[in-house]
Amino acid sequence: MQRIDALRVMYADINDDIVVTIMGAVAAELYSLGHRKNFFYLQHAMGLASSMGLGLALSKPNKRVIVLDGDGSLLMNLGTLSTVAWHAPKNLIHIVFDNQSLLSVGGFPTATSAGSDLAGIAQKSGYVHAITVHSSEDFTGAWRAARERHELSMIVAKVDATGPKSFLMDLPLLENRFQFQRWLKED
């Protein structure tokens, strides 16, 4: 499965959701589908997208929060799984694109290439709903189920270690930040 295929599945559904994505290929590919004011691209602070998602989910309980994470990022902050699961916000869907590598910094393998199971770690941390999918069809099914469930859910999507040629986005960090904050305020 290509990451962009999963993003395309989600894109039509997340018009009105709070979306936080990690840096690198995930941010660039989501941006390439068309930027929206409700997208925040966390271009540094690796590992903290899910912590931001928790802060957003607790602060906006009536909005759905989508965190787009990666294997390398999540491995840098595994404690987040215990913290998020403790609160288990019903409005949080945690997507992890697992390409088993640190693609944007040389493609070095991560521990998921050697068997670390992020959905399994999430389950044992207290995520009741955590699933690993390998195909676009399975992703689509898991995504629809997560949206209908209205409980904390994680989908680990095993994706190819490929990405866009460039990670450049025509969106200054602070423009994104203030636009996103204003959207949250006016929404």
């Binding site: 540094h44 928790l54 957003l56 404690g79």
Partner: protein, 166 residues
């Protein structure tokens, strides 16, 4: 416990709704107060770094938050302070117990005390010492005001004099 109550009242007066914390002996009463308060969400962390992300999300969503941490926890959170709070202009209200300074008996706490203020200065983070209970509530509301107007982290150092209570 009296002084912790004064600090907690300062947080309430500042409009804080989310408190993230890692326990430490000086912070026990404050954490218990946050937990007992139905109007406050207490987020128990595994590491202080998470708190920077949680407060960033809360701020962008219009909710005020505060961080309770030991100075060693502050030292553990330097990267996200730089690469999230500074990068994206996120205000933080950090209440930091100032261990390892004058009067410290625990040898294992002593090194963090040497570097807390030099690191705050190196990062150009405005900070104040909380020592006298009669000033504390005002100092907290002032810290919150500055954090939000300047969109930067602010540190309030909780002193032994204030916190070492039975």
């Amino acid at each position: 416990m009296e002084n912790s109550r004064i600090i907690y009242n300062g947080l309430k007066r500042s409009g804080v709704k989310i408190v993230s914390a890692l326990p430490e002996t000086w912070l026990v009463h404050l954490i218990n107060m946050a937990e007992a308060d139905p109007d406050t969400t207490l987020v128990r962390l595994t590491r202080e770094e998470e708190a920077i992300g949680i407060s960033a999300g809360a701020h962008l969503a219009g909710v005020r938050s505060a961080l309770l941490m030991q100075n060693h926890g502050f030292l553990a959170a330097i990267n996200p302070i730089v690469s999230l709070a500074f990068l994206y202009k996120i205000p933080l209200l950090m209440l930091i117990s100032y261990r390892g300074h004058m009067g410290e008996r625990d040898p294992w706490q002593t090194q963090g005390g040497r570097f807390t203020e030099p690191v705050l200065k190196a990062l150009d983070i405005p900070y104040a010492h909380l020592t006298d209970p009669k000033d504390v509530e005002r100092q907290i509301t002032e810290g919150q005001t500055l954090a939000e107007s300047s969109l930067t982290p602010v540190a309030l150092l909780l002193s032994r004099q204030l916190m070492w209570e039975a």
